[in-house]
Amino acid sequence: MSKRLSKMGWIVLVALLSLALVILPACAAPPAEEEEEEEVGIPYKNDGIFVEETIGDIDTLDPAWAYDTASGQQIAYMYEGLIGYDGASTDKFVGLMADTWTIAPDGKSITFHIRPSVKFSNGDTMTVEDVLYSFQRALVTDPYSNGGPIWMFYFPLLDVYTSEGITPTQIQNAVQIVNGDSIKFNFVRPYPSTTFMQILSGSWGSVVNKKFCIANADWDGTWGNWTKWNDPDHEALILNAKALGTGPFSLEVWNAPGEIKLVKNQNYWQGATAVPFDRIITKFVDEWSSRKLSLLAGDADLVYCPRTNIADLAGIAGVQAIKDLPELTIDCLFYNFNITANSPYIGSGALDGNGIPTNFFTDINVRRGIAYAFNWDTYITQALQGEAQQVGSPIVEGLPYFNPNAKMYAYDKAKAEENLKAAWDGQVWEKGFKFTLIYNAGNLVRKTACEILAENLQRINTKFQVSIQPKVWSGSLSTMRSKQWAMFQIGWLPDYADPDNYVVPFMSKDGTFGGPASYYNPEVEALIAAGATETDTAKRQEIYYKLQDLYYTDIPGIPLAQPLGRRFFTNYIQGFVFNPCNSGMAGNLLYLTKSES
C-alpha cells in the first residue's frame, strides 16, 4: 500500500511540476531590455523587421477579389500595377510596371509602355503578356455576385457594372497589346484619364504572373470555357493564399487569421537595396491593451489605436504620433424619402405624434430643421476627440474639386424651430413625431451622433421623440435595402479619390445610399452623368462645386464629419508619407526606414 501512497505523492509532484513549468519561465525570463527600458522610452527590437499590429483581418490575397483595405494593403506590398501614386499626391502618378504612357487626345484610350526586364520575386521576367493576362484575368474572374472591385474596370471600358453577358471579344477589345511592348485600354466613351489612373493604382490593378497562375490551375488565358472561371466561389480562387508579384516583398507565410509575414523580394526591379526591410509582419490583435503593450515594449513599430484611446499614447517617450491626416472617408446620416409602409421604425406611420408618414422626409423643412438640430461641435470635440472636421457634402477634403468654402449647416436652435414649425404646415410642430434611428451596432461614436441629434430634437420640442436602435452589420444592410428605415447612419470608404466615387453613392437615384433612400433629383442626376465622363478639369470643377452646393440646399442627408486619421509609430520609424489612397496604415513602405538612432 506504500506503493499507492507514493503514487499520490507522484501525482502531486507532477501537478506541482507542471504548474512550475508554466510559472517558472515567467519569473525566470524577465527580458534584459526591461531595465534600460526605463531610461529610453521604448527598447529597439527586431532590426530590419517592420511589425504592424492592427485589427480586422485579410480576406484574400487575390487582386481580382480583394476589396477591403487589409487585403489591399498586403497585395500592395507584394504586387505592383502599371502605375502608382506619387508620394502624397492623389492625382500625380509614377510608372511602376509601365515606364511611360500616352493619353489619346479624344480621351477614349490610354496606352502604357511596359517597363523592360522587370522580374517577379521568383525570378521570372515580367512580360507584356503577363500584363495583358493580369487585366484579362481580372475581367474574366470578376466575382460580381460577391461584389468585388472589377466593376471599376468594366464601367469605363465597357459601360457595364458586371461581367454578366460579356463576350470574349468585348474583353479582348477593351484591353490590347499594341506594338508588342505596350498595353492599350479602350473606353466606350471619353473618360477622365486621372480617374482611370487612380483606378489602375488600386490593388485590383496588380500585375500577376501568367505562368504561375496557369500552373496553379487558374484561368488558362484561352477563351474556350473561360466562363468556368467567371464569378467564382471564394474557395475556387487560386490566388487566395498564394501570391507571386513584382512588388518589393514576397509572401513568406500567412498564418491566417492571426498574422502574415512577408520577406524582401531579392529580385525587386528597383534593386533589393531600395527595399528598407528584410521582413514585414502584420499581426491582427483585437485587444487594444495588447497592441499598446506591444508598441511600448518595442515589439511593434506601428499599432492601430482606436480613436477613443488616443489619450493613452499622448506624450509617451519613444512614441511618435502623426495626427490630423485627412482620410477620404465620411460619416453621414441619411433621410429616407419613401419609407416602406408598415415599417417597424416609423411608429404609427402617420403624423399623429406617435409616428411619421412614409413620405415624412420629402418636406425640405423637416430635413433642414433636423439638420440644424445636430450639434457638430459637441460631436467632433467630444465623441471624435477633435479628430475630425465638418464637411458640407460627401465631397471631402483631399479630393479634387473639393470646395473649401462650401456652405455648411451648424447647430442653431432658432433655425431648427423655424423650419420644423413650417414643416407639414405646422402639423409637425403641434403633433410632434416619433421614429427610430438606426446605427451600426458596436460603434459608440456613431451611437453618440444619434444620441446628440435625438436629445437636441427633444430639447427643441418634447413631442419630438427619436429612439435609437443598434443593428449588426449584416442586419443594418438588409434593413437599409428593405427601405424600412427612417433615418440611417453609416460611413463610406472610397474606391478611388475622385468625387464621382462619392456623389454617385450619396446622391444618385441608384447609388449605394441614394437608391435605398429613394432620393431623386433630376438636376443632380444630370450633373452626375456629366461629371463622370467630362474630361475637361475646369468644367468638372464647375459641375462638382454645383453638386456640393445642391447637397447643402437640397440636403438629402446630414454629412456628419470627415474623420481625421492618426498613426502611432515608434521613434525608430522615419519617413512616413501619408497618401489617403494607400490602403493600410503604413502607407508606401519604400519611403520608411527603421534605425536605432
Partner: protein, 348 residues
C-alpha cells in the same frame, strides 16, 4: 473485439446527433429572410445591389429542407464552405486553429485535474476543519469569478506592472520568425511540443511565457469545479461500508483515504475531466479572446459575432464529434478504473 463493435455502435449513434445539431443551427439561420441571409455574404456596402444575385446564386429563397439538403450534400463531399473569419475553407480552418486551443488544453487540464483532485481529497478528508472551509471558500470564489473579469484583472496587473514579462499572443516576434523558418520543423503546430521535438529551449521558454496568463485564468475557474466534485464524491465514498471495513482492518487513515476512498471517488471526476478537455479543446472562447490566443474558441466567437454561418455550422459539427469521441474514451477509461463497469453501461 467487444471494444470495436462498441466503437462502431457509438459512431453510428453519432450520426443522428450531428444531423440534429446542424439542422438546429441551420434552422436558427432560417429565421432570417433570404435578403438578410444574403447580406451575410456581403463584405462591403457597395454590394447592396448584388443581393438578388447572391440570393439567386446560393438559392437562399428555397425551402429549408432543400437548402439543408444541398448543404449536407456539400459536407458529404468534404466541402464545409468558406470561413470568412479564418479566410480559408472551414475544412482547413479547423485543423489550422486547433493546435492553439489544444496547447491551452494540454497545459490547463492536467493542472486543473491534479490540483483539483488533490484539494478535493484533502478537504473531504478534513471535512468541517479549517482546511476544508479554506478550500471550499477558494472553490466557491473561483467558481463565482467571471472568467473574463479575472482575465482582465490579470492583464491589468501583468501588462501594467511587469510590462513584457508575460506578453500576449502565442510567441514573440523573433521566435515567431524562427518557428516559421526552414530550420524549425512544425510537427504539431503546438509550439511547446514542437519546441521540445526540435530541442529548442528559447522557443519553449517563450511559448510557455505566453501560456502563463491564459492557463492560469482557465485553471482557477475550472479547478473550482473539479474540487467541488471531488470533495462531494469523496464524502460519498467515505460514508460507504468498505471504508469502515478498511478502518476495522487497522489501516492507516492515509491509506484508507488515498487507496480505498479515492479510487471510487475518482469515477465521476473522470467523466467531468473528459468533458472539460473536450470543452477546452473546442475552444476556451473568453480566454482565447482576451489573451488574443487565436484558436478554435476565438474563431467560433468571431463566427458568431460576424454571423459567419459556414464557420458556425462547421464548428458545431466539429465540437459535436469531439464531444462524442471524448465520451467514448471516457467510457473506455471507466472500465480500467471501475471493474463493475462494462462498455456501454454506466456504473450499476
Amino acid at each position: 473485439m467487444e471494444l470495436r463493435s462498441y466503437i462502431i455502435r457509438r459512431v453510428l449513434l453519432l450520426i443522428p446527433v450531428l444531423v440534429g445539431v446542424t439542422m438546429f443551427i441551420f434552422g436558427i439561420t432560417m429565421l432570417f429572410t433570404p435578403l438578410e441571409r444574403a447580406t451575410l455574404y456581403v463584405t462591403s456596402i457597395r454590394q447592396l445591389n448584388n443581393l438578388p444575385a447572391i440570393i439567386e446564386r446560393y438559392g437562399l429563397d428555397r425551402p429549408f429542407i432543400v437548402q439543408y439538403g444541398t448543404w449536407l450534400g456539400q459536407v458529404l463531399r468534404g466541402n464545409l464552405g468558406w470561413s470568412q473569419v479564418a479566410s480559408m475553407p472551414v475544412a482547413q480552418a479547423i485543423p489550422h486553429l486547433l493546435p492553439a486551443s489544444l496547447e491551452l488544453a494540454i497545459f490547463a487540464v492536467p493542472v486543473i485535474i491534479l490540483v483539483g483532485v488533490f484539494l478535493g481529497t484533502k478537504s473531504a478528508a478534513h471535512k468541517d476543519k479549517p482546511l476544508d472551509h479554506g478550500t471550499r471558500v477558494m472553490a466557491i470564489l473561483g467558481w463565482s469569478l467571471p472568467s473574463f473579469w479575472l482575465g482582465l484583472i490579470l492583464l491589468m496587473i501583468f501588462y501594467g506592472f511587469f510590462r513584457g514579462l508575460l506578453p500576449p499572443g502565442r510567441l514573440s516576434i523573433p521566435m515567431d520568425i524562427l518557428v516559421d523558418s526552414a530550420g524549425f520543423s512544425r510537427y504539431t503546430h503546438i509550439n511547446t511540443i514542437d519546441a521540445i521535438l526540435n530541442l529548442n529551449g528559447p522557443v519553449l521558454l517563450d511559448a510557455l511565457r505566453h501560456l502563463v496568463l491564459p492557463v492560469t485564468t482557465l485553471s482557477v475557474i475550472n479547478m473550482a469545479f473539479i474540487m467541488r466534485l471531488m470533495r462531494s464524491s469523496m464524502l460519498e465514498s467515505l460514508g460507504k461500508g468498505y471504508i469502515l471495513t478498511a478502518r476495522a482492518k487497522g489501516l492507516d487513515e492515509k491509506i484508507v483515504i488515498n487507496k480505498h476512498a479515492r479510487r471510487n471517488a475518482l469515477i465521476p471526476v473522470i467523466t467531468v475531466s473528459g468533458y472539460l478537455f473536450a470543452a477546452l479543446a473546442s475552444g476556451a472562447v473568453i480566454t482565447e479572446t482576451i489573451f488574443s490566443f487565436k484558436g478554435i474558441g476565438w474563431w467560433a466567437w468571431q463566427a458568431a459575432f460576424r454571423l459567419d454561418i459556414a464557420s458556425i455550422l462547421g464548428f458545431a459539427l466539429f465540437s459535436a464529434v469531439l464531444f462524442v469521441f471524448i465520451n467514448l474514451i471516457v467510457d473506455i477509461l471507466y472500465t480500467r478504473v471501475d471493474p463493475r463497469v462494462r462498455l456501454g453501461q454506466g456504473v450499476q
